[in-house]
Symmetry: C2
Subunit: 481 residues, 2 copies
């Protein structure tokens, strides 16, 4: 889709503000409308959480310059000039329908309106609109600035092209779109979440377990698996070598057992009170703010761990990080700060720390081209066979550094590259390193071509960089000139 | 309970072998009975996976010496001399009842029999036993050697003391026992898992989504949260500042919406075929063996990430690792191998690498006493203010090293400690380091007492170590004697 520069948020609660944070961190300007008098404070709190989490999740990436936030005075003020609208109002069909009809009249017809509804049907939500084809569900999960999943579901009148454009947009801001092919209440994810929730409420209602015990039953067991594999793949493995059919024959009969109530209990005042009381006990006085930070820290840690495995949401993040890099010019893939123990007796950064930073820059390049830990574990890796370093300028403790990389040449086994380390404050060039990387099969212990996907990325980079001027100082040998 | 030295496994499929691996890795001898002619091969495969995963999950811990595995020729042969029995047969009540009655007659009455049943009622399972009080459900989750959760549920005749002893035993082998207070079909976890599963089967049956789409709906969204927080705590946060009551009032009405099908679909041949076909597509030809490795790598990565945050299953692992350390004597908390680039031109390990290993040993001590990354993030940490090193013996590339730590003295702000590095092959002492650690408030930038829980662990260690002889070479200063 044409680039989204400005987005309007209708509703700025936990979900709306989560969208806002994700948009802003992607460099999109945001206007938000919500009558809550505390909107600004609450929104800024979510944004602070998101900034904190992103700094941890993307320590090395060059994120876009943050977008600007504007609190709109009305619905019309919010959507004015917007390239995209995301609605996150309470789950009331009448309310959403009324607002969609109103927004519809305020915007040119090509602007997509995404709804965060957890499970209301888009065919009904779009029924009062003049341009119903632009209404699409984009259902996210809290915290929206961290969890990748967004369910995309159109109504009867939603244009196929709108679903595609919405999916591409959400993907561009680091999400994992899941296209829901049949319109159904609760879509896919919330049908399962609701099944768990309804069963859990029955257990509280019947005094089977407390909120904490029910939570523990998930987080110490199946929840750990669900962070990277869903029910079906997990059960395929539970079937052992005979696989899925064996699992179905073994556990199929249990479907007849009274293992679920599935109907939700009546949400009486008494049940609500019990849940609130048990939930308070469970939180042990820890504030929502602090719990949010712990949640975010754990999410960042889990997704970073999965990124190292290039699996599930970890692969999503990796692809996103890769998309942030402008491959047409020299790459900036690594940043560092001069640490106290990097300083020698002269007060300058010690010689070998430059090679350390160059080494980390090479590692960042390998990550970028997909030659990661899993790649190494598969018996393939690049090795540095030659390095030529030039020390050009001193740097002192606490200075921020960034390193750039230019691919000078590449073939199926070699990468000839040129790194440069700069002091970030003033872009002062500090040192350069020209290297030859040789690709090896670590089991056979000899040079071998890189894997096709890695090679493809290397070739694309080398091709793009072949248009760049040769860096000053490349191709030199040591000697008196 | 009296220590468990020998355990009998009745049933050695995916779950039984998973128990076996966990027992063996905890130094427990195992006898297994299962009529499967391929038992040994399948069991060894699970054990190999478990060894691989534990090496990654506990890279520094001194694990017990692995127990011995014996394939029993009969049920009687398996349970002979066992201190504990774990049954993991197919989910058929008649079969389990018959076997329990048989085992019951073969064992002294104090030996606990744990059942891995996913949801059959212990009151029924124990009904043909002479000593029903010793039968308790210990329901684990696959892979048993990695996932901490074990649900403990007694029947009407199960002794309270048996439930306690079983819980203590499972905890001692690194698990997280969850006591199920009311006997109910499916206990707690499987009621929720079954709710998800039944709803998911409906979606396949009705062509709403494929197995892969359903899995994606979990693993890119709620599954990430569920790896460390359960539904109730997560929803408390979704309620934002107004908390749980607000969430209930906001999402309570959705309980009336048709978001779940309520019952399981008929498991027809056609539905089974569809699931098997979609599951095959989803696996993309990757073998069960390879998928198991990916699952285990991800689980290890996720749990290690949570350990760094000292949260949920990460805290369970941390406590387990701590329990492995014998605190009465000198601690062995760190191991390393002399790497090629640690070697100087003489072919020996370079001087400053000793200090590196000592530094890593100090870090391991900090981990052990709970002064971890989260502790540092909270603005508290120990700093090394003084170190005295003695270089006693050379070591060459590839040698395995281990380091010991003795606490010489401690107060609320200081730890006076003595490390020693040994060549593991022959326990040759290579170097010692005596250090003074000062506890600081990193924000106030001054010395401050350690946090109560850390201090408690330090005091316990210092107290235990005060009974040890003063290490040779401690208390020295540099000089000609």
């Amino acid at each position: 889709m044409g680039e989204i520069k400005t987005a309007a948020l209708v509703g700025g609660g936990v979900i709306g503000a989560g969208w806002g944070a994700r948009f802003l961190l992607n460099g999109i300007d945001v206007a938000v409308y919500d009558p809550d008098p505390e909107l600004q404070r609450k929104f800024e709190t979510v944004l602070a959480n998101a900034r904190r989490a992103w700094a941890k999740l993307f320590p090395a990436a060059e994120l876009p310059r943050e977008g600007s936030l504007r609190i709109a005075s009305s619905l019309a003020d919010a959507v004015k000039g917007a390239d995209f609208v995301q609605e996150s109002l309470p789950e009331r069909e009448d309310l959403k329908r009324r607002i969609f009809a109103e927004i519809d009249g305020l915007l040119p017809p090509h602007v997509i309106i995404g709804s965060s509804t957890s499970g209301l049907l888009p065919s009904r939500l779009q029924s009062d609109m003049l341009h119903p084809e632009r209404l699409v569900v984009g259902h996210p999960f809290n915290p929206v600035y961290l969890l990748p999943l967004v369910e995309i579901c159109g109504g009867e009148k939603t244009a196929a092209e709108v679903k595609e454009r919405a999916g591409a947009f959400y993907k561009s801001i680091g999400m994992q779109p899941l296209h829901v092919r049949k319109e159904i209440d609760g879509f896919i994810a919330d049908r399962m979440l609701e099944a768990v929730w309804r069963e859990a409420l029955w257990m509280i209602n019947d005094g089977i377990a407390t909120t904490e015990e029910i939570d523990d039953a998930i987080r110490y067991g199946a929840g750990l698996r669900w962070s990277f594999m869903g029910t079906f793949l997990i059960y395929r493995l539970a079937g052992g070598e005979p696989g899925m059919r064996h699992f179905m024959s073994q556990f199929g009969p249990a479907l007849k057992l009274p293992w679920t109530k599935l109907v939700a209990p009546e949400l009486t005042d008494e049940l609500t009170d019990t849940i609130v009381r048990q939930s308070d006990d469970q939180a042990r006085g820890v504030s929502i703010r602090e719990l949010e930070r712990r949640r975010d820290d754990c999410l960042v840690a889990v997704m970073s761990a999965l990124r190292d495995n290039d699996f599930a949401s970890g692969a999503t993040i990796k692809d996103y990080e890769r998309s942030l890099v402008d491959e047409s010019g020299v790459l900036t893939l690594h940043r560092a700060t001069v640490k106290p123990d990097w300083i020698d007796y002269n007060g300058h950064m010690t010689e070998h720390r430059y090679l350390q930073v160059f080494g980390e820059t090479t590692d960042a390049l390998f990550q970028h081209i997909g030659a990661d830990a899993a790649y190494l574990a598969s018996g393939l890796m690049y090795y540095t066979v030659e390095t030529h370093i030039r020390h050009l300028h001193e740097v002192t403790e606490g200075e921020a550094l960034h390193a750039t990389t230019q691919i000078l040449a590449a073939d199926d086994k070699r990468i000839h590259l040129f790194h440069a380390i700069y002091r970030s404050r003033d872009d002062q060039l500090l040192a350069t390193a020209e290297q030859m990387q040789l690709h090896v099969d670590t089991n056979a212990k000899k040079a071998a071509p890189a894997r096709a996907d890695v090679l493809e990325r290397v070739r694309k980079l080398a091709q793009a960089h072949s248009a760049l001027p040769r860096p000053e100082g490349s191709g030199r040998s040591v000697g008196v000139r």
